[in-house]
């Protein structure tokens, strides 16, 4: 008798709670997957919802930096994204921005939170397996940032025990280990933390694309970029794999921007130090 009642209670409880849990999960799913409209091609989907969501950096001066005063993100990447939205959808206000990091951008693209990545992203063979890239929209190369007066003048000065700061998930962390195998490489979650660590004396030099480093110099002139670039880092705009229509539309837009002089205008606006 006791047992039987207990069994009944169990079933009841189970049923009630599983409904509760499932409904909680269900509502989670629906909110997470709203932008997942597979089946249609990516360009059509964008035109249908009449906006493009770009994944951009929020901590990279000159390319994508969040201004705490206004909450807006500003930079070369942002302006390029706005121009692309203007060409594809007719209005730059149809570009929406979501903040990403080097580590989060591909997952966010794949889950459909963002339609395209314009976030200082180097085109690599490995990444091509996961995403589609547009044509190159910015030619960057890896370099070193040091405090003025540092004995490090080029990559040859990186010796055993030199602490090099880098960002997780970026190509520069992989490259520096190849080019300077003796260095101690410390990898941080994002550029803000890496630069703060450099300022706090936690490393001798910080390495990433020169374009980003110039942004840091712009922020704090006590630091300088040294030596020649030692890699080629062509930046591309990434979209979800197998969306040739969207890639084509972006490439056409980039070409138009280069032809009508808008690209050079933006380049000059943001990238002042061009040596």
């Amino acid at each position: 008798m006791f047992k039987k009642k207990k069994g009944l209670l169990t079933v009841l409880l189970l049923a009630m709670l599983s409904v509760l849990v499932l409904s909680a999960c269900g509502s989670k799913d629906s909110s997470g997957d709203q932008s997942k409209e597979s089946g249609k091609n990516a360009l059509e989907a964008i035109k249908e919802k009449d906006k493009i969501v770009f994944g951009v950096k929020n901590d990279t001066r000159l390319f994508g930096l969040k201004d705490p005063k206004t909450g807006n993100i500003e930079g070369f990447d942002i302006d390029i994204a706005k121009e692309i939205a203007k060409i594809i959808l007719g209005d730059e206000s149809k570009a929406e921005f979501k903040e990403v990091t080097s580590k989060t951008r591909i997952p966010l693209l794949q889950k459909g939170d963002i339609d395209a990545i314009v976030a200082t992203m180097t085109i690599t063979e490995e990444r091509k397996k996961e995403v589609d890239f547009s044509d190159v929209y910015f030619e960057a190369g890896q370099a070193l940032l040091v405090k003025k007066g540092s004995p490090i003048k080029s990559i040859d000065d990186i010796k055993k025990g030199t602490k090099v700061l880098a960002v997780k998930g970026s190509t520069s962390a992989v490259n520096i280990r190849e080019k300077a195998p003796d260095a101690t490489v410390l990898e941080f979650e994002n550029y803000a933390e890496a630069f703060t660590a450099l300022k706090a004396g936690q490393g001798d030099t910080l390495t990433t694309d020169n374009a980003i480093l110039y942004g840091m110099v712009d922020e704090d002139p006590n630091y300088q970029v040294v030596g020649d670039i030692f890699t080629d880092e062509p930046y591309g705009i990434a979209v979800k794999k197998d969306s040739p229509e969207l890639v084509q539309a972006i490439n056409d837009a980039l070409k138009e921007l280069k032809d009508n002089g808008k690209y050079d205008e933006l380049y000059k606006k943001w990238i002042k130090t061009s040596n």
Binding site: K6, L17, K28, G32, P68, T104, K111, A192, F195, A200
Partner: protein, 216 residues
């Protein structure tokens, strides 16, 4: 150190925005955790075969892993098997997975702390097992569970800061964004951010202690 520059109105607003995200994520997570933990805790208390053992294993594993690993796992690894979430959802899910395993243990030991004699007494006075559980055991157990659950909520609020690694725009993240601008902001900003966490958590810990005194 530049306190005046660090505490500009824009920065303060930015930190407050972050703190609201912290509170929002923590509150949603604690509610979700409680629902799931109640389910798991009751199953384990009533010792329903198989299910009870499965939950025991899951709870034991999750409780013994770093939350940071669970956050990374939810955000970076789950997409590999087709489960994809936004940053905020990933933070909520990770915190909920971790906290519900903690709270389920609180609920289970809360239920276990009610003497078995009371169940027998309830049954012999003519109540069914369900009625006994509902009217006798649960009300007493709940009262005993509240203080540790409030303490757990304090942990949760603190743990939300770990979501900085997936760039959730919570208090810690926004503090770091301001810190990156100027090294002279770092100390003032950390002091303020620490105070914000402290003020809420200390208040909660006083509430937890008052409740504890009441129940004991």
């Amino acid at each position: 150190m530049d306190f005046a520059g660090a505490y500009s109105p824009d920065h303060l607003k930015f930190l407050l925005d972050g703190f609201f995200v912290t509170l929002k994520v923590a509150i949603i997570s604690i509610i979700a955790s409680f629902v799931i933990a109640a389910f798991v805790g009751i199953i384990r208390y009533t010792k329903i075969p198989i299910l009870s053992q499965i939950f025991a294993v899951i709870v034991e594993i999750v409780r013994n892993l770093p939350l940071l690993l669970i956050i990374f796992f939810t955000f970076f690894a789950l997409p590999e098997i087709g489960i994809e979430m936004s940053i905020e959802m990933a933070a909520i899910v990770a915190l909920t997975i971790f906290e519900s395993s903690m709270i389920s243990e609180i609920i289970r030991s809360g239920l276990n702390s009610i003497e078995k004699g009371q169940i027998e007494a309830g049954r012999s006075s003519g109540l069914t097992y369900t009625q006994t559980l509902w009217h006798i055991v649960l009300p007493q157990a709940l009262r005993r569970m509240v203080p540790p659950i409030v303490s757990q909520f304090i942990s949760l609020l603190k743990d939300t800061s770990l979501a900085v690694v997936i760039a959730l725009p919570e208090l810690m993240h926004n503090a770091q964004v301001i810190n990156a601008q100027n090294v002279n902001f770092i100390i003032p900003i950390f002091i303020l951010a620490a105070f914000m966490y402290w003020a809420v958590n200390y208040t909660l810990s006083i509430i937890a202690r008052k409740l504890e005194l009441k129940t004991s």
